[in-house]
């Protein structure tokens, strides 16, 4: 999967939980789920479960720990897909 394909898939997963649509339009690898998109921490777990379903992977506690921005989410998904 290319970087762009991965970002597109992640964007679709994140979209329903975004509270700041302006920041969402400008989404990049550096976008932070909580600080920029204002996603409620109660919904971070939903994003993690949606990622697991979409890519058919399972995330461990140590993967979840870093799941705070687009860049980390991409790195974790890539690592799992390559494993």
């Amino acid at each position: 999967m290319t970087k762009d394909e991965l970002i597109t898939k992640l964007k679709a997963i994140i979209a329903p939980y975004v509270q700041d649509e302006e920041a969402f339009k400008k989404l990049s690898e550096d976008t932070d789920f909580v600080k920029d998109l204002k996603i409620n921490s109660a919904n971070l777990v939903d994003i993690i479960l949606d990622i697991e379903d979409e890519f058919d992977i399972r995330l461990e506690n140590e993967d979840m720990e870093k799941m705070l921005d687009v860049k980390s989410a991409m790195a974790i998904v890539n690592a799992k897909l390559e494993a």
Partner: protein, 186 residues
């Protein structure tokens, strides 16, 4: 020093589904899952435990500045009226207020009274909500320290942890919002 967290009950019902597969396993230890299953209202227990974990995390990150997402590692115990959260060597006491509209928790290192001010938002815009919350926080601090608002300086560190600076004193504060509700604590 305090960490707080609020859950808007209506929002949680509408936008979170605690019954979806693997949801409970991701967030809660097996002991906590047992508490949820044994509770007369599993829904309320889920969100009570969640606010306990989040408020403890917010207190922990003030003692050790950092940022991570590890709710399961913040382990809750509830015995009679005493609620405790442990994370590695860190331990704190948590008090929770439950109304028909929201669940609010405050975590402190020692057992203490809650100091919350709850704000009902009429605007959905997150920027307007956070400005309102900040303004209520500064109002609360100015009353407590008997000083005018311009003497208070609100800051957030790189991890997003808020604090108020008065003269050279750092006042530890905590802020939370979810759905239509926000809360502050000192």
């Amino acid at each position: 020093m305090v960490g707080n967290d609020i859950v808007d009950i209506r929002e949680a019902k509408k936008y979170s589904n605690w019954q979806r597969p693997r949801f409970l396993e991701k967030l809660f230890t097996s002991e906590e899952q047992q508490l949820i299953h044994d509770s007369p209202s599993p829904f309320l227990m889920v969100w009570r435990l969640w606010t306990m974990k989040e408020s403890a995390y917010k207190l922990y990150t003030q003692t050790s500045p950092s940022r991570f997402y590890s709710p399961r590692a913040f382990q809750c115990t509830i015995e009679n009226s005493k609620a405790i959260v442990c994370y590695e060597d860190f331990q704190c006491n948590v008090k929770t207020k439950l109304t028909s509209l929201y669940i609010l928790s405050e975590a402190r290192l020692s057992v203490n009274k809650m100091t919350y001010d709850v704000v009902l938002f009429h605007d959905k815009n997150p920027k307007i909500q956070s400005e309102l919350l900040k303004s209520r926080l500064l109002e609360m601090v100015s009353k407590l320290y008997n000083t005018n608002r311009p003497n208070l300086n609100f800051k957030k560190c790189k991890y997003g942890i808020p604090k108020v600076i008065y003269n050279s004193e750092i006042i530890h504060v905590s802020m939370t919002h979810h759905g239509n509700f926000g809360a502050i604590a000192l």
